[in-house]
Subunit: 190 residues, 4 copies
């Protein structure tokens, strides 16, 4: 089964997710600059989520580049990932609207965690179809970053009950981890 | 006429449908975990619909993979299917918002039924262009599953007036039927 | 300049337009079947617009199939068409919400008229790049249907002030004209 | 790394942005023509933004046409541009809802300015991968228009505090500058 359509569909869904998040930004009431001020938490959470969805698109882009074949389980593992990614807009807004209160920050972390687990499942399904000699397997390696992320999200969720900003800081940290070495990863496979 | 653009358009519409359903999930009021509790029926109906739209994408993906040609009637049969699929978000929300009350569960079943009938019409139109020796015709076989689904939806709609959970259970059952043997189908053609 | 990306972009925008129209359908209040009853005008206008956008997609699909080259003016003529098509959702809802009152029916007709004029401009721009011997020019012929449609929309708009249902009936008639011979057109070029 | 998927993703996001802007147009209350009158500022800002997003799509279309390779930095520079473009719908609505008041016009100009800066960054990243002998570098030249635009946006933002219509007029002027010579640029590379 070719990978073309799964790539196209995934690109489509991710493009829609990253764009409809902006629909959660409500037009400020009032015509002055000060009308924009109350938007900062919603805007901040939008920026963070935009970067996260961008990272997922980037990673899916790089990963599918090396993939040789897919099957039905991969399709469903991919849809499963898209399901949790589709909850990014609402959990982003939940966090932003409540000014990064503890519970919403923890919920946001749970969505990130479930996306990361879904990504790990997708990787596992793709590994099944690509033995250790393939470009896919070599580029992926042990996927240390994927495993570390899951641990970090758990830490972030726990910390959000101590102090919500600590939790949010951990999410920013994980985004930074993915943002930076991703370019190295890409050079390896490029 | 090539099948490329009909595939691309269908992928696009299905990707949008599966993603805008999440816009029906309203951000909960309140900043505590308990604010999420009242969302369970809407969330549950979202999960079910996400799986259903995923199944349709999967089936369309597999079916168009074996299709050799399309014509104007196929385009319209396909648009007709997309029309009923486009009603998934609103009927999902109608069912969720009303906590799986009888009438909304029956309405949801009607939309599923109309999608299934539209799918059967699309299959009929494609059969017209592909004789029994084609991969398409062999992979499709007698389409027993398609016919059974229509019967099951009718049963589900009827049962939803007895007890709405019975109706919903039938819809879950049909989803499971498609979810599982779909992989077998795909191996046959893969 | 290749036509690939203009086709992809157009498909994307049309797919989004046809799908977001459904967002104008508001979830009915109440959990009974009678809660659905007040939706009929909105639903009816949705069906009509879905068919119209489907016709445009179909026609653009067939037309671009025979197109050999595009340039900057074609890009803008195409964007101009997409602009008026993008007003379909709101004018559909305006007509539906007001139960096919005279003014909204006339406004809806104006949007259809402007789409038709924009389509004629796009055709003119494409003719400039394709001489009479090309498949494009032969398939298009004198575009009688395009010209008739514009006249009919004008009639429909005028009639909507006499009786709104007469106006709406003309729009349905034009849709039927496009729906039926389009298949013949396609066979010629197929 | 191929440019195909970055083009597809960009096309998708831009197609969604240009289309969801229309969701900000609220259906007028009332069933008369006069119900449409209060919409003029929102409609006017919609037209301007539609043209701007169209220009960006057109320029990205032409630019990526000549691009030979992309890397991770280009992906992120592109996502960065898409981020600011994604703020077009909300800033458009902010300007329209407030009838082109000074602050919203200035905010709209800031979004345009940030898009232009993001575009310049994307160009810089692409230049890094394409030496002066490539079609990309020759077609781009010194990118005088890009630099002039940034200056003009700054002027427009400043003028919007003197008189909001002066600010808006500058934005219209920049759009006109891009709209017209873009066709010349395209002929050079075509």
């Amino acid at each position: 089964m070719g990978k073309g359509r799964i790539e196209a569909f995934t690109d489509g869904v991710v493009a829609i997710i990253i764009t409809i998040m902006v629909l959660e930004l409500k037009v400020p009431h009032g015509e002055t600059f000060s009308a924009l001020l109350p938007m900062w938490p919603v805007f901040l959470s939008y920026v963070l989520s935009f970067i996260y969805v961008g990272i997922y698109w980037n990673n899916l882009h790089n990963m599918f580049h090396t993939v040789k074949q897919v099957d039905g389980r991969v399709l469903w593992a991919n849809l499963h990932l898209l399901f949790w990614l589709s909850l990014m807009p609402i959990s982003t807004d939940f966090m932003g609207e409540n000014h990064f209160a503890s519970a919403p920050v923890a919920v946001y972390g749970c969505v990130l965690l479930l996306c990361a687990i879904a990504y790990a499942i997708l990787v596992t399904q793709l590994r099944r179809l690509h033995d250790a000699s393939t470009t896919f397997a070599r580029a992926l390696g042990k996927d240390v970053k994927g495993k570390i992320s899951i641990v970090f999200y758990l830490v972030g969720i726990a910390l959000s009950f101590v102090n919500q900003w600590l939790g949010a800081a951990v999410y920013v940290l994980v985004a930074a981890i993915w943002f930076i070495p991703d370019r190295r990863f890409e050079r390896q496979i490029g």
